[in-house]
């Protein structure tokens, strides 16, 4: 599963990882990532699946492009 990480999250994980994770929802994916990257815990971020912002209970598949988005700071 391809996971892109933006803003400060790229320091905690990487700008992009491709890992084998069997997670059925965004929430379970985050749970697994938090065990692998403990600094992720307590961080605020939103999640996009295939370029759409989604809720934590959104169902995901192996072929999806996941993006973890730290709070935005444009402008």
């Amino acid at each position: 599963m391809k996971i892109k990480c933006f803003g400060p999250l790229s320091d905690i994980i990487a700008t992009e990882i491709d890992i084998k994770i069997s997670a059925e929802t965004v929430a379970s994916l985050i749970e697994i990532l938090e065990t692998q990257y403990p600094l992720l815990k307590g961080k605020t971020f939103s999640v996009a699946v295939n370029h759409k912002l989604v809720d934590k209970d959104f169902a995901i598949q192996e072929s999806d492009e996941i993006a973890l988005l730290a709070p935005f700071s444009g402008g």
Partner: protein
């Protein structure tokens, strides 16, 4: 479907680019008022370290979709003739311009309100991140208040 626009520019936004955008409106003689917002990188001092530049990144596929949605909402809400949104990517030095919002309409009230709301919404809703670069390759991630 809306045509996908390219709202991002590699590097700083030059005064000449802004002048060109203004000049392009001189044939639109139904326009009476333009409003322009420019964001400029500040040399802030944070714990004794000076910000030399901000490096901007985006998640482009999502960002362009969100900008398109914001454009549509602003056009629906305000009587404006046109709007232009440009944001820099990459390293922008202190003093350089990184954000350019431009609205035009018949009367001034609509342009002002539309411009203000665009600036607020883009800062809040569009996936862009700024990394404040200090001397000696140290940095901190910018936070919008």
């Amino acid at each position: 479907m809306h045509k996908k626009r390219n709202s991002f520019i590699e590097g700083p936004i030059s005064p000449a680019f802004i002048a060109d955008a203004i000049a392009k409106h001189q044939s639109k003689t139904e326009i009476g008022a333009h409003h322009i917002f420019l964001g400029q990188v500040r040399k802030d001092t944070i714990q004794d370290r000076e910000v030399q530049a901000i490096e901007y990144t985006t998640y482009k596929d999502l960002a362009e979709d969100i900008i398109a949605e914001i454009r549509e909402a602003i056009f629906a809400k305000y009587e404006i003739n046109c709007m232009h949104i440009h944001h820099s990517l990459g390293k922008i030095d202190a003093g350089e311009i990184c954000f350019f919002v431009f609205t035009s309409s018949k009367h001034r009230k609509a342009t002002m309100d539309a411009c203000e709301e665009l600036v607020e919404r883009i800062k809040k809703e569009v996936p862009i991140w700024g990394k404040e670069l200090f001397n000696e390759s140290s940095y901190q991630w910018k936070e919008n208040k």
